[in-house]
């Protein structure tokens, strides 16, 4: 850390001014980043007349939750007008199994690839890793054919499969990098004591995996909840995840444009990942930066 306080040779007035300027710039940037959230919240709490009369930054004169209620219970997605709530549950039913399965597999892979290395383990890892970088457009067509053949096209189960398969490389990467730094002696000692592959995993490795499990769950949950491409390609009508439903609500061209409902729906869609970020973001950032910055 190099900073003005330690290394700044100017004392007194100039220093105070510089600090003031620094905070001013940071506050301006904060306003820039918070502005869309502010607009979303205030717009969602206004009535349509007030939106038309008022300005983007004006606070609601009368706070009303009508738009939220309408978005949740009544908004039309396609021909179905029962709100975004069904699609919220679709996303929940898709995300929970997909996150859990990909995390468990990732943990086992990472453990096997570092603590019980076999010949070619590096190549296997490199080949798995490649999957993280493939643009998904290249698998869209064959995947829709495959899901159709398996009879799980347009179903939540199909989306779970897709998310597990393409999330595996990330979870494996997380756990592998985490386990690499755990001393091998720990495992060797347990092997000499006669403990097997799964015993060691269960008794020794898993209890110290807390931080990386949190990272994997947060990452996977955010990716899967926020996904739109797979949802739009492999689901239709009532089985769509929430992001697809949101896009549908916003881009419905019939009737009056209800900006307050759009914003309420957007907030409802963003809320789960936002909550996860605020509550557990510390670990998320720590884990992400630890994984991506090597230099």
């Amino acid at each position: 850390m190099a900073d003005l306080q330690t290394y700044g040779q100017d004392s007194g007035l100039k220093h105070t001014l510089l600090r003031g300027l620094l905070y001013l710039v940071l506050i301006l940037f904060s306003i820039y980043y918070l502005f869309p959230l502010f607009v979303m919240i205030t717009t969602s709490l206004k009535s349509l007349t007030e939106i038309r009369e008022g300005s983007l930054i004006s606070l609601p004169r009368v706070v009303t939750f009508d738009a939220w209620n309408y978005a949740w219970n009544e908004a039309c997605v396609g021909v179905e007008c029962s709100g975004i709530k069904t699609f919220f549950w679709n996303s929940v039913q898709m995300a929970i199994p997909a996150v859990l399965i990909s995390t468990i597999l990732g943990a086992l892979n990472g453990y096997a690839l570092t603590k019980f290395r076999f010949k070619g383990a590096n190549i296997v890892f490199a080949m798995l890793l490649f999957g993280c970088f493939v643009p998904f457009q290249v698998v869209l067509l064959p995947m829709s054919v495959t899901l159709g053949k398996l009879g799980i096209a347009n179903s939540t189960m199909g989306l779970v499969l897709v998310h597990v398969v393409y999330g595996l490389c990330f979870t494996t990467l997380f756990f592998r990098n985490y386990y690499v730094s755990i001393p091998d002696e720990l495992v060797k000692a347990a092997t000499i004591d006669g403990a097997g592959f799964f015993t060691i995993f269960w008794r020794i490795i898993l209890p110290i995996s807390g931080p990386i499990i949190v990272v994997s769950i947060i990452w996977q949950f955010t990716q899967i909840w926020n996904d739109f491409l797979f949802g739009a390609s492999f689901s239709s009508g009532g089985s769509a995840p929430m992001t697809v439903a949101l896009n549908n609500i916003v881009n419905t061209t019939t009737g009056v444009k209800q900006y307050n409902v759009d914003m309420a729906s957007a907030l409802l869609t963003g809320l789960p990942t936002l909550l996860v970020y605020v509550l557990a973001g510390k670990y998320f950032v720590r884990g992400l930066t630890a994984g991506s910055v090597k230099g």
């Binding site: 892979n109 493939v134 698998v139 592959f197 916003v250």
Partner: protein, 302 residues
Amino acid sequence: MGASSSTESNLMASLQRNLSKIVVAPSFAASLFFVYGFIIWTAWMAFSKSRMMPVYDWAGLRQYERLWQMERWHVAIENLLIFGGLFIVICLFLGCLLAVLLDQRIRAEGVLRTIFLYPMALSFIVTGTTWKWILNPGLGLEKMMHDLGWASFKFDWLVNSDFAIYTVVIAAVWQASGFIMAMFLAALRGVDQDIIRAAYMDGASLPRIYFGIIIPSIRPVFLSAIVVLAHLAVKSFDLVIALTGGGPGYSSDLPATFMYTMAFQRNQLGISAASAMMMLATVMAIIVPYLYSELRGGKKNG
């Protein structure tokens, strides 16, 4: 302790080695099928006569020829260059600037970091929906400026086919720059303090310390950030769909939205597959040299 015990432990070890393989096998098989197999399938489609349905008749480079003859594809490529270039440069600049500013023993650094980073937690669809509302010419930013007294203010980029792609840049920068900031901040915290102290003792000024010592020493992070951003740019799909829908017309199309339209709306499977292969080639051209240097560096270290 004799020969029998050592055979036993050998047996155990060999069983465990196999267990290790057995555990990895399903994921590896899935990767072989769903990643490598699918890439080959798509590559084949791009060489076939497929239109509405996948057919396996060889057509050579016909689909690629048709792809490169389409004006829409050229628009998408041009947009990707504009969008990707601006997105990467602005995110790098903002991310680096914010990280340096935050690195000055700031009070409430945690709060500020959270504020800069929270957009990353949102779906691109949510971001797109929000910016679409903010930037809409009727009731959004334009009206706000009029109400504030700037009557001649005009901002119609969202519906202007020459500028629609720039609104995608605005929203994408808002979403991703905080993440780049976090990457740079972590790197700044890892710079060797002794070198900085020594430079300071020699009378170097703070800007000189930053430009002469700190920024060059975190060069690898620039590379990582560029790779992450380029990868995001090539894959960009949701944001365009939510913000402009690729429009007006197809003026803000990107390769990803082009591919999707050809596959699911225009029944042009062959062209769609060819465009997907072009995207794959682009990403590989960025990622493979990077991974190669990273893995080689990793071997050197351990």
